[in-house]
Amino acid sequence: MSETTTELEPAHDHALLHGHSDLPMLPGEEHPHPSPFQYVMIAVILCVITGFEIAAYYLDKAVPESVLTAILVISAIAKFFIVIGWYMHLKTDRKIFRRLFMVGFVGSLILYTIVLLTLSGLADT
């Protein structure tokens, strides 16, 4: 999969490939957002994780199902947090955004886990 990244990288774009960001800050930004170069590097990391996920999927004969599930869940969580942290700037923006989003995200995790537990496991006891 990850070969495709090379053609998407703005290789022609040397001016943008410098390290730290010198972009003007946006309202609500506490620390500078990543630079375009860092954005591309993050994309590379995301691609590697995705490649890993798909590879793991094809190894399903070789590894126990629970290990495979764990790998996939951890990879998805990693990608989730990378995107919301750097692409959606929760790492660098004011904390209020992070808190608001986490209420909904963690809240839905807890609530729906209880629903699933109640509907599947607990009812049979």
Binding site: P34, A43, Y58, A76, Y87, R94, F97, F105, G107
Partner: protein, 203 residues
């Protein structure tokens, strides 16, 4: 909901003091909406998890998945997040030429993703799995379909930004409007990350 934060919704309030949370209303509103949308998609993913292992007649989505194909479309959507942040970086430095390129690239990646989804749905239908074949197929179509609807709204939004940029109506001062549209777009991508792992990959 998208209209909530379409560009240029900054209403002036005369001498109104600085925002008490130190952020702009639009961005704050978008984050509240995204937080709320977590529970919307959560409900469908929960339903999928509940119904995925029910032993049912007819082909189930899991027997038909074409993982290489969906991996490619997922990858395209992931890359659209990259082009989206590059578009934002471009408009922040008032580089409107690159902004137009990146925002269009994002929309095109989105269209490719939707195209892939249409192809996938058609393919599954041809192989005998319709919306009503079994509960597993129903929730598959409804959940991924609603995600596709979210992507489509995002595409319309991005195309409008592109159109406004072409008319010269968009400039550096609108960087925040682009950021807000980007938040929506990345969120849709994040939801797909979860759907791809939970619905497609987990055995």
């Amino acid at each position: 909901m998208a209209q909530a934060a379409l560009p240029i919704t900054h209403d002036t309030h005369g001498d109104h003091p600085a925002p008490s949370a130190g952020v702009t209303n639009t961005k704050l509103g978008m984050w509240v909406f995204l937080s709320s949308d977590c529970l919307f998609f959560g409900a469908f993913i929960t339903t999928y998890l509940l119904y995925r292992n029910r032993n049912l007649a007819g082909p189930t989505p899991r027997s038909l998945y074409n993982i290489p194909f969906t991996s490619v479309t997922s990858f395209i959507l992931l890359m659209s997040s990259l082009t989206m942040v590059l578009a934002l970086a471009a408009i922040q430095r008032n580089d409107m030429r690159r902004f137009k390129v990146w925002v269009m690239a994002t929309a095109v990646f989105g269209i490719l993703f939707i195209g892939g989804q249409v192809f996938e749905f058609t393919e599954f239908y041809r192989e005998g799995m319709s919306l009503r074949t079994n509960v597993s197929s129903s929730i598959f179509y409804v959940a991924t379909g609603l995600h596709g609807l979210h992507v489509s709204v995002g595409i319309v939004w991005l195309m409008s930004l592109w159109g406004m940029a072409m008319q010269g109506k968009l400039g550096q001062r609108d960087a925040e409007a682009v950021e807000v549209s980007g938040l929506y777009w990345h969120f849709v991508d994040v939801v797909w990350i979860v759907i791809f792992a939970v619905v497609y990959l987990i055995p």
